[in-house]
């Protein structure tokens, strides 16, 4: 089992401390969500993994070896990002061939199947593609390279709802053919909630949440009701945030004491991923940094 371990990774841009000690582990064969507000440092983190920029401190180890300027490690990692680094007059099929040469292997069958599903003309020139189709071309490449760790930074940028759905299925098709680690960074949280098995939330330069989705759905709850009853039911339980309106309280928790009987008048709603993300990252904003 391969793993990519982040050990206290920091990144400063001049005075600005973007990453303040990131610790997490990516295991092989998992589909991860990496969430964070705009400017939280998600892209920086992914770029560090792929050596497009370097950490100011800490270590990033793939099976115990640093990934920094390590060609062998980098051959196992692929980053799909917003940047388009290729000449505009080249055709998509040229880009497919170039990628195949660079990584030594390429899933041509899947690439053709996906191009057909997305109605992407592989003879089209890169410079003539719309934002959505530029994303699609890059996604197809990311799903067809043989790398073990595929990092997708904003994979659905500019895609319409149908293309996004097609992409989620394509990702699972690629995963089904060859299970690898996929890391998705996106703002369309609800759409990936069923797709990922584990979520990381980057907030204030650190990992604020590192949790299995099953666990989150099992015990994350929004608890509402009369203040005294809610407080008593949640006594001794960590509460992310409380909102009070008159005598009614709404409390957000990741650890609902479901074994205790629920008092009449208190209601439970699921804590879904998007709601949780807002609770985690909004609180930090109101507190100031």
């Amino acid at each position: 089992m391969s793993e990519l371990v982040f050990k206290n990774v920091t990144k400063n841009y001049g005075e600005k401390r973007v990453l303040r000690g990131v610790n997490m582990t990516w295991q092989s064969g998992q589909i991860y969500g990496l969430l964070g507000r705009n400017g939280a440092g998600k892209s920086t983190l992914m770029r560090i993994v792929n050596n497009r920029t370097f950490a100011s401190g800490g270590a990033l180890l793939l099976d115990g070896q640093s990934v920094v300027e390590n060609e062998q490690a980098q051959n196992r990692i692929f980053l799909m990002s917003d940047a388009m680094l290729y000449p505009a007059d080249k055709r998509i099929e040229w880009l497919f061939k170039l990628t195949a040469q660079m990584y030594g292997d390429f899933d041509w069958d899947l690439a053709q199947d996906l191009a057909h599903q997305f109605k992407l003309d592989v003879r089209a020139r890169l410079g003539r593609l719309s934002t959505g189709y530029r994303t699609i071309a890059k996604l197809i490449i990311a799903l067809c390279v043989p790398c073990e760790f595929i990092l997708l930074d904003e994979p659905v940028l500019g895609l319409d709802a149908v293309h996004r759905e097609l992409f989620y299925r394509a990702l699972l098709q690629a995963y089904g053919t060859r299970p690898r680690t996929f890391v998705l960074s996106t703002h369309i949280i609800d759409e990936i909630a069923g797709l990922i098995s584990h979520v990381f939330v980057l907030e204030g330069g650190q990992i604020a949440l590192d949790e299995d989705l099953d666990e989150l759905m099992a015990k994350g709850r929004v608890v509402s009701g009369p203040a005294a009853l809610v407080q008593e039911w949640l006594s001794g339980v960590a509460v992310l945030r409380r909102e009070q309106l008159g005598g009614m309280v709404t409390a957000y928790t990741l650890d609902a004491p479901l074994e205790k009987p629920l008092p009449a008048g208190v209601t439970l709603a699921p804590m879904n991923l998007q709601k949780l993300f807002i609770e985690l990252t909004m609180e930090a904003e109101t507190n100031g940094q």
Partner: protein, 123 residues
Amino acid sequence: MHFDATSLEPLYAQIATQFTAGILSGAFPEGSQVPSTTEVARTYALNPATVLRGMNELVAAGLLEKRRGIGMFVVAGAQAQARAQRQAAFFTERLTAMVAAAKALGITQAELTAAIEKEYRHE
């Protein structure tokens, strides 16, 4: 089938519930092969591990069986067994919750019993 990542019921449990419903309705007949985890994951854009966990619950419950290298099949007698399991769950979960809700609203046992009898006559 429909899956909701914002529901109180975890996704793996939704997989188990909906496959059980399929067995009950006969959509997945006894002895037949059910769709593979990969197929289900792809069709509904769900994490394959989640799908597998849900289907493994049905293997543990004795409704599905794994045949090595082929896939998962509905066990003979699964329909009756699923119905028995659902009935047991009805009494332990739904009925308990309904009586608790009735009590909280001040509905007496006689009133609730009368209402249930009336519903049965309407069938």
